[in-house]
Symmetry: C2
Subunit: 333 residues, 2 copies
């Protein structure tokens, strides 16, 4: 099957068809999204080698252990946990020490015609939402993760730094919950995508004078943590969303003196994200900047790397290509 | 009056006698302690210039607004807050934006014959404890601060990194509350000072294989945060106690991926620290490595700077020198 892979350089190539372990589902990829983490991987982050990609919506082709999934439109959680270790049995499945992660760690990703995930990782996509919504489920879930980590009410002063894909989704998630938010970015065009009631937008050139109770740092840049620490009030909270390769120069004394809470934040609740899109409180589709067929995956990644680009999508092959016999690779793809 | 001052270099010199504002108390310093922060200041931290020192026990000489304090043995909180701003009136007095801090920010410190603090900053020292206990009140309160920030029970696996003054006080505070703790340091001599029931000691050469729920980083070194992040479990908490001048190279991706909580921690409850020493659950006196009269303050600081040194104390002048008329500087001191 065709896959966009990384082994030091990004190459579109044929890879052996995936094999199913007990409990696995084979999924045809309908649409996949390029994330900042994918771009970091192509810069060396995590040392990952293999098929890229972890944001997708697809259709289940084959699932021997749970055939009720076959033919369903699905999204999938990206952490493949062992299910039996101490962490997995104490609510820390996403942090299983031997986990694999779709397109990030020891498991082929979704920038391919097909992928494999355990059926337990799948979530059915409601009919009310399009593929273009559903492909945002994974990053939107990551945005909603902050509600599980930080008490947020309408009385809390929140700012989001970063007007990239994830930053704007975090603003959308806050807006969906009725939390007033200040969105701080560099690009008026992007900030305009989230403007509206309850959202104040400002560029880094005209920073507000006040300090915030909670800052969500979602820039993807290694310089933004210092800005976050400058904008948070004493005993306030900085939620750190950016995974950047390498180290950050951090002045730790202000963090100690001001007793700041710094909270790392990663994967979130898929069900919450799907429900927010299904009831219309979040519509992420304005973030789509471009779509490419998988066959033009290298160009798509190059486009996603251009400064100022929001979401770039990869389209799987048309449905006519998902014939069940393809699973077995009979046609040599 | 004699004072140990810093203006780019450390100098013992005569300074004008302090003047009292309304509400202030004049305190004769009986004993003062040299803290890592004092040493950081002499390396440029905070840009502070003036009389050094913020850990002391003394006796109130003069307090026109509250004469009941006169003659009492006291310790004093180090933050001088405005008392009227939004932070001061919402429980954040220690974070008042216009605060001065004893010997750290815009207020002369306690490495002197006399100091001035608002009477509201004072705490009476119980008769049950000696001056040698009481001089540890400020750093021991900082150690007890962690209980206000992190839920700690006997079921929580806690490690303290750092066998310097503050690290050992944190271990003592945990031991006093019955929390089992692993003390990680470099010096078997120092670790031995806190060994005993409920305390496992280990050097950095033989680190335990497990990961901890809570790590308290109290080394005073800029390298220890990376070790703390390596030893904490996913979704665990790192309490950051070290205030170091400059920046730290921090790999932030593991912090995000493992969803670590990093919590800055500074000043703590004086009443809790005094009570723990009064009831005997904490005895910090084994940490005293040396005592010098104030007149040998430069030598005392040089001693405190030597690697491996624990607490160095400065002794105020004998009681016979505290005659009330000295307040007015009649004898030219």
């Amino acid at each position: 099957v065709r896959a966009l892979t990384f082994d030091g350089t990004v190459v579109l190539r044929d890879v052996p068809p995936p094999t199913l372990a007990p409990g696995d589902a084979l999924v045809a990829v309908r649409l996949a999204g390029i994330c900042g983490t994918d771009l970091e991987i192509t810069r060396g982050y995590k040392g990952y080698r293999g098929t890229l990609g972890h944001e997708f919506v697809g259709e289940v082709l084959h699932c021997p252990s749970a055939p009720q999934w076959e033919g369903r439109r699905v999204v999938g959680e990206i952490n493949l946990s062992c299910g039996t270790c101490e962490r997995c049995t104490t609510g820390l499945r996403n942090h299983c020490a031997t986990r694999r992660v779709l397109g990030i760690l020891d498991h082929p990703g979704c920038f391919a015609e097909q992928l494999v995930l355990p059926a337990t990782n799948l979530h059915a996509v409601p009919d009310a939402i399009t593929d273009e919504h559903a492909v945002f489920t994974e990053p939107l879930a990551a945005a909603f993760r902050i509600f599980e980590q930080v008490p947020l009410t309408t009385a809390v002063h929140v700012a989001v730094i970063g007007d990239g894909k994830l930053g704007l989704l975090v603003v959308m998630a806050l807006r969906a919950r009725g939390i007033p938010v200040t969105a701080i970015g560099r690009h008026p065009r992007k900030l305009a995508l989230v403007a509206g009631p309850g959202v104040r937008t400002t560029t880094t050139d005209t920073l507000p004078p006040e300090r915030f109770d909670v800052i969500v740092e979602a820039t993807g840049s290694r310089d933004a943590l210092a800005l976050a620490l400058a904008l948070v009030r004493p005993r306030g909270t900085v939620v750190l969303k950016s995974t950047v390769h390498g180290t950050v120069e951090l002045p730790t004394a202000p963090l100690v003196v001001d007793e700041i809470h710094l909270v790392g934040s990663r994967c979130g609740p898929f069900d919450v994200a799907l429900a927010a899109m299904a009831d219309g409180t979040v519509d992420p589709r304005p973030l789509i900047d471009a779509r490419y067929p998988l066959a033009q995956g290298e160009e798509a990644l190059a486009h996603a790397r251009r400064p100022g680009t929001l979401k770039v999508l990869l389209e799987g092959p048309p449905e006519s290509c998902w014939r069940r016999e393809d699973i077995y690779g009979d046609d040599g793809r």
